[in-house]
Amino acid sequence: MIPELGNFALALACCLAAAQAVLLLLGAEAREARLMAAAPGLAFGQLIAIATSFAALVWSNAVSDFSVRNVAAFSQSQAPLFYKITGTWGNHDGSILLWCLVLAICGAAVGAFGSNLPAALRARVIGVLGAVAAGFLLFALTASNPFQRLWPPPMQGNGMNPLLQDPALAIHPPILYLGYVGFSVPFAFAIAALLEGRIDAAWGRWVRPWALTSWCFLTCGIALGSWWAYYDLGWGGFWFWDPVENSSLLPWLTGTALIHSAIVVEKRESLKTWSVLLAIVTFSLSLCGTFLTRSGVLNSVHAFAISPTRGVFILALLGLVMVPSLLLFAFRAPVLAPTGLFAVISREGAIVLNNILLCSMAAVIFTGTLYPPFAALLAGEQLSVGAPFFDSTVLPLAVPLVLAMSIGPALSWKRAALFPALQRLWWVALAAALVGIVAALGWHGLASVGFAGAAWLIFGALADIAQRIRLFRVRASESLSRLAGLPLGAIGAAVAHAGLGVTIAGISGMTLASQRVIFLHPGQSTDFAGYHWTLTALDRVPGPDYVARVATLEASRDGRTIAVLHPSDRRFPVQGTAVTDTAIRTNLLVDLYTALGNVQNGGAEVRLRYDPLAPWIWLGALVMACGGGLSLADRRLRVGAPARRAARLPA
């Protein structure tokens, strides 16, 4: 009965979403106050309906109700409860339902936290979100219904993909979707502004928190996926420029551009048309990512394989979202007249440069990802565009971006002088150059450029804060009080820029990694990376739904045991597949990474890696997300439209 309830709730949510769209958009056009006031209520109603539906699916998975076709296809009764629950979104149907849930959460969030918005704008935003949600709910209901029943129900499910039985991968989709789908809110703001025919400075201020929140989640989601690939796949890679990875990076790049150009909209009432287009493009890229992952058109290992007819449905949905929005943009954009001016050399100018570079990187990655299918279509040629291409084309664009990232905050608004700003950064440049030289003396060339860039960013962020609190130019107590009074947005920006520096340091460190693959019998040892490694045991350990081969590796130095690691290999009999589990010992500076390969003749192939600064890659992403979070806490972002007060009659 629960699945039936879920199905009904899904249908109800679809109707509510359609009502939300129609009533609110028409209400805003007609300036009907009562209809516009219904916005939060409709959004909450849709959320309750879809949450009920999602809960029903989670319940069916948790109790292993194999009469539900989706559960029978992707789950099994022996799996641990936590993974049964998280497996709800590990397949196509469940993930589309998760998408709809997050869309509803976004709508409800605007209803709950959007009381600072003017009524018409809020109604339009929630209306647009309702329209998008209606489309996805219709898709979920008709072509991807997870509540289809199977009668008679099988005794056992087909089995859960063993790769999904991993904590990081289990929470990766919800966090990633909060990012992807979160960008629907800036998209809705853009459409609302176009419908209204007006954007003022306040629009920039209102849109930023939503774009920042989505950006934080997307940063975490991408980092989580990369970290999972590193510790799970067994050879120490963390980014493969795989088409599905690229399609998550694209909205991140344009989203970063958006959070910066929204600042200029707020300060100068400029870059309005561009920001609107960017908001539309960012969400469109999120949708494209959904489409590309599920369509089977791209050569990727991540793709959920689905039938081409479903792919056509998603493509149609994509078209229905993108075509009207871009048409609206083409016809209404000229109305958004820019009013502010700024000099080329100014902080706004630096933000324009930031936007150009970020969007160029996105354009290169987009072209590279889509080239193979289109070359096959138009010219019949099969080529592949892989990591070497992306490394050689994206990194040269990242270099001027990193340089500008520390100079930009040092420039003043509206009109700035470049040389004084550069002079203030003299010690940052010196520090970066020193780090680069020291690195070049010790290690390979490319890594030293990376380290110099990281130092430039981290010290540049410190220089920005130092400049704002007038460090060493006024008394220390005054600097301290300035620090306490600094707007959180400024601190957040510095933290986020420094976070990118930490990530770049991590990536540069990984280029210096070394590894050894060696076949050992228990009792044998080898020397690697300054440690003496011994394989002390090789055991067979059964688990709830798998059988594991566990190796015990001891790393010692000068006779003292430094670490004992247990890499393993799990075989899942139901699915007939195997998963390697690496064992990593980290001190947050260096990773000692071990993985188990072929086990035969009583011995095992062991992969040993020495990865300097690897943890910094993901710690840096966490720091970036914290920076974004700090900016969100800034009081200034909560300023809203002035409330109507009763007019006071003169005495």
Partner: protein, 187 residues
């Protein structure tokens, strides 16, 4: 001011035009994928129309092995079949190979990345349709022929030119129609 606005209009429509074109392209790709005409994972093979590459297949009892020289002027077209005992589709295509053998088509087999004992067991269980048999334990011959998996089959004509390639197991349709036609053409 009006003229400037009109000039801007085409630029503003540019994103929409790109999206429309891309959408049509994707629709076509999906259509082709549905019909089986498009698969991004298939590996192309470029040996068709070229002479047999430099390779050698080691002796594999009961076979004596063979190499490039043996395929340069065969008396009649030869089907070169890459297989392995550990490969399930290879077992599945054995009956079709037997059918070809009954039709007097010379089949030369190359056992890829396998062991002698396993090969013996495979031939005992499934029969031996091979006129000549060789082994390629290290895969050098497989790479020379541009193999990306097993089973794969090639048709070599009487002048030692590769005329046909199949990147997968034989199907009844191929054995009934395609191969007889090709064998007649290159007889």
């Amino acid at each position: 001011m009006q003229r400037a606005a009109l000039l801007r209009r085409p630029f503003l429509l540019l994103p929409l035009a790109c999206v429309a074109v891309a959408g049509l392209g994707f629709a076509e790709l999906l259509q082709r994928a549905g019909e089986g005409r498009y698969n991004p994972h298939t590996v192309p093979n470029f040996m068709v129309g070229r002479p047999v590459p430099e390779f050698s297949a080691a002796p594999a009892p009961p076979g004596a092995g063979f190499s490039t020289a043996d395929l340069q002027h065969p008396p009649q077209p030869v089907l070169v079949n890459f297989f392995a005992s550990w490969c399930l589709p290879c077992q599945a295509e054995e009956p079709l190979l037997d059918r070809l053998k009954a039709g007097h088509v010379p089949i030369w087999g190359i056992d890829y990345a396998d062991q002698e004992a396993a090969l013996k067991g495979f031939l005992q269980a499934n029969g031996n349709p091979y006129t000549r048999l060789g082994a390629d334990p290290k895969g050098a011959a497989a790479i020379a022929w541009g193999i990306s998996g097993v089973p794969e089959s090639f048709l070599v004509d009487r002048s030692g030119i590769i005329r046909w390639h199949l990147g997968g197991p034989l199907t009844p349709a191929i054995v009934a129609d395609t191969l007889p036609r090709l064998l007649r053409k290159y007889a």
